[in-house]
């Protein structure tokens, strides 16, 4: 597909925001938000309810007027009209309740001036083809959400913007919608997704921006949210005796007891196997040794609670 020369690593930017701000009277919903979203990424906008996620999406989608700052889609590219390159939904799926799936999609296609929209294909992608002739008002929340994704896919978009796509769904619905999003991302479509559920962002996204009270707390890869150095859990029959040995071990940077376990942080360059060998040589045989990835949830809460 790509006609770029091999070795060209210049990353294209899909969306750029600069010092974006939205003020509602004295209340600042979004403050000084500068984001850069790269092509092909699955970008999560993560934050608790009321942190400004929807307001941010509303601004870049042209629904809400920013109070300050600016944003730019596909900067430096003067190609087809933006809305034909993008599929988006904000908050709840919004359709005409008395129209069926097909009629609602026809309206979207009319708005986007599409000549031969792939109705069947997108309805099949989201498993709604069999229900295409039922009116929207009879749809379950999961079906509504899926119809919204179908509508967003009509243009064969380069970018998909989703706002809390699994909100209010049952576990099966959540799994279905997540799978659909992952399938879409695999096709190379950039996905921008707001969510207040950390596990969801962790499962679906590769990049994340964390918002709290309208302020950007973190932007980068999901993996980068977690500090690189991991912790080791050590278990020993007589836990107290382990303390002095750990203090002397050259691999150990920090050791703390936690219940019957010791939590150990290693110096860079050392690993769990090395520490285990060292302790065994000293005559200490561990009954428990496990790497504990610093919990993403904890990191998230740490960020948000600051």
């Amino acid at each position: 597909m790509s006609s770029q020369p091999v070795g060209e690593t210049k990353t294209e930017i899909v969306l750029n925001t600069a010092h974006l701000r939205k003020q509602y009277g004295a209340f600042t919903a979004v403050e000084d938000l500068s984001l850069q979203i790269q092509k092909g990424s699955v970008f999560g906008l993560l934050g608790p309810n009321g942190s400004g996620k929807t307001t941010t999406l509303g601004m870049v989608l042209g629904i809400t007027h920013p109070s300050g700052g600016s944003f730019q889609w596909f900067p430096g590219q003067a190609s087809p009209p933006l809305k034909q390159r993008m599929g988006a939904l904000l908050e709840t799926p919004n359709f005409y309740p008395y129209l069926n799936a097909l009629e609602n999609l026809r309206l979207v296609a009319e708005i986007k001036s599409l000549s031969a929209p792939p109705y069947q294909e997108v309805l099949k992608t989201v498993n709604l083809y069999d229900r295409r002739n039922s009116p929207f008002k009879h749809y379950s929340l999961g079906m509504r959400q899926r119809l919204a994704i179908a509508a967003a896919l009509l243009t064969d978009p380069e970018v998909l913007v989703l706002d809390e796509p699994t909100n209010g769904l049952d576990p099966q619905g959540i799994a279905e919608v997540r799978q659909i999003i992952l399938d879409i991302a695999r096709r190379g479509i950039t996905v921008i997704m707001a969510s207040h559920i950390l596990a969801e962002v962790e499962k679906i996204c590769d990049h994340v921006a964390v918002l709290r009270q309208g302020k950007l707390l973190y932007q980068g890869t999901v993996a980068g949210m977690v500090p690189g150095d991991s912790l080791l859990e050590l278990g020993f029959d007589a836990a107290q005796k382990l303390g002095p040995v750990l203090q002397e071990a050259p691999a150990v940077a920090e050791a703390q007891p936690e219940g019957p376990l010791w939590l150990v942080k290693l110096h860079p360059g050392y690993d769990a196997a090395g520490l285990n060998r060292y302790l065994a040589e000293k005559g200490y045989y561990l009954k428990h040794l496990q790497e504990r990835r610093s919990n993403l949830e904890a990191e998230f809460l740490k960020l948000v609670d600051q």
Binding site: G58, L61, G62, I63, T64, H65, P81, L82, K83, Q84, A88, L89, L90, E91, T92, N94, F95, Y96, P97, Y98, L99, E103, R106, L107, V108, E110, I111, K112, S113, A151
Partner: protein, 275 residues
Amino acid sequence: MKLLRLEWLKLRRYRFFAISTLLMVLLLILLLVFFGDINAFGQQPAENGEGQQLTPLEEDFAALGLYQMPRAYANLAYLAGYFKFFAAILVILSVTNEFTFRTARQNIIDGLSRKEFFGSKLITMLLMALGLTLLSGIATLVMALFYEQPEGASYTEGLPVLAALFTEYLLCFSLAFLLAWSLKRGAAAILLFLLYYFILENILYFALGETVGQYLPMQPGHNLIEEPFTRLTKVDKIIGLAHQEGFPWKAFGLSWAYLAAFFIAAYQLVLRRDL
């Protein structure tokens, strides 16, 4: 054309809207066709002040010349004018539904510009006004063919009154339209519209007096088409009522000033507000 197609797709399956529109058209036709059969003076012979029996008058409106050119257009346009309230409610719903279903923002997200979105509703409203006006004109023409006409009566002389009717509709719709865009809720907009039209403005009118009151926004609508009954029943001669001759330019101009202002206000609202 795209905007028109869009509205057609939206409204044709909207049962309440479709049925109401058909019902309105049907009622309007029935009223215009059968109004001529109504006895102009009621069933009871009238008495004058001195207890004298007046000649029992049992003439219906058709016999009095309801369908006679050139005044037939004006006579029926006056009746058709009452349908503006009915239609105004439909105009309100066509706008507020987009907010109730939250499809206004989805339309914008999907790529409609705010200007186009506003335009699509404006077109609906213009078509409604135009359709009702044409219906009134055509019904007049058809009925005139059924009834004997005065010799040499002109079928075109009375036509300008249709411009006045169109304006009467638009003036009424413009207020409904502005309320719909500002309130975003169908019930609230309809209620406030009726409240203002039938109560608030009348209170204001009497509070301000006629000199100032006649410039209230909905007042020119009352002066666009003259009430035809006094002329038909010749009561005007008895009480010495003066008629306005010629086209009601003052009311016409005032109406357009107000309706343009209302439309511009609604448009500015759509452009500036968060959806």
